[in-house]
Subunit: 193 residues, 2 copies
């Protein structure tokens, strides 16, 4: 096995382990077992479990972005329609996992912000990038006259992401779609309206 | 030391430990050390660390409710003013802890929903009670003509709580009040308006 293969296997398997069990409930051995690599090889690839966690949550974001961000830039649709499609796809992904996993960014924000400056800084950068991506489309919706211009697009986008993270958390607790339904209803009838 | 004293010391000290470090990063010994009781005595008072976690998060809610809920029932103020005062007080509490701790209910929702059915059920009940308490005041605001009646008070209250939890998470990551400021702005200019 080449060194890069082991690293890749650790990231792929570790993402699943840390997403489902959380960071502190997972040992390095859980990650190496899931990846099918010797426990001792972990530190050939990553300086620490903390550094691994920061890489894994960035990969979580990249994978989600690869799937969902194209919906935001689909210029065959009006901006507001794109935003609806984007959150509908994300809600469907949460339903598909029976609301159990939640968002790894939110999970790590809750569990690790106080424990790891490295993870917290990575999360801050990821949330900022997500907010910019969403704000671009909110701004287009404002320019198209679909959304009022009384609040800055960045403010609206930041709030909508926070409300989304809260809905995902509530979904984890209640294991039903109610939080996602009211998110969709209120975002598109009150906030972007 | 009477048995009830040890139990009370464990709950008081353990709430602080679990709030700042999270559940899985804290051992029973961290809790007994903080409480100043012998490690072995923990299981005289609680069946498991999990059962302790469920009691602690219920106590977190009760303590917060004792401080903040009176603001919601202050009948010298109009309902919308009470809601503003309530969230302003909660934002001030987050500022006072430099946004580090977050909400234990949100933290446990993220960390433990998949790990503990006991904690998840407790959280579901606490979130439902919180939503009912908030919805009562939203309904009063609707009856007073301060808030439109186009959406049910329970839907609005549920969404506002989710958005709050998301803002608290973002505050933990960014360690600044931006998420609280946009929460206040959007809730009171778009959602309850």
């Amino acid at each position: 096995m080449r060194k890069s293969d082991g690293r890749e296997r650790l990231l792929t398997a570790g993402l699943k382990v840390l997403h489902s069990r959380g960071f502190n409930a997972s040992g390095v051995q859980d990650i190496t077992d899931a990846a099918g690599v010797p426990k001792g090889s972990f530190y050939n690839h990553f300086e620490s479990k903390e550094a691994f966690g920061a890489e894994v949550v960035a990969r979580f974001w990249e994978e989600g972005a690869r799937r969902a961000l194209p919906l935001l830039s689909d210029e065959t649709r009006l901006p507001l329609d794109r935003l609806k499609a984007y959150f509908a796809a994300k809600a469907a992904a949460n339903l598909a996992s029976r609301f159990e996993l939640g968002c790894m960014m939110g999970n790590f924000a809750a569990e690790l912000s106080g424990q790891s400056r490295l993870v917290r800084d990575r999360l801050a950068a990821l949330f900022a990038g997500w907010t910019r991506a969403l704000a671009t489309v909110v701004r287009e919706a404002q320019e198209a006259g679909e959304v009022p211009r009384d609040l800055p697009a960045e403010t609206l986008a930041g709030f909508i992401i926070d409300a989304w993270e809260g809905a995902v958390l509530r979904g984890k607790v209640e294991r039903d779609p109610a939080a996602f339904e009211r998110f969709e209803r209120i975002v598109f009838s009150k906030i972007l309206a």
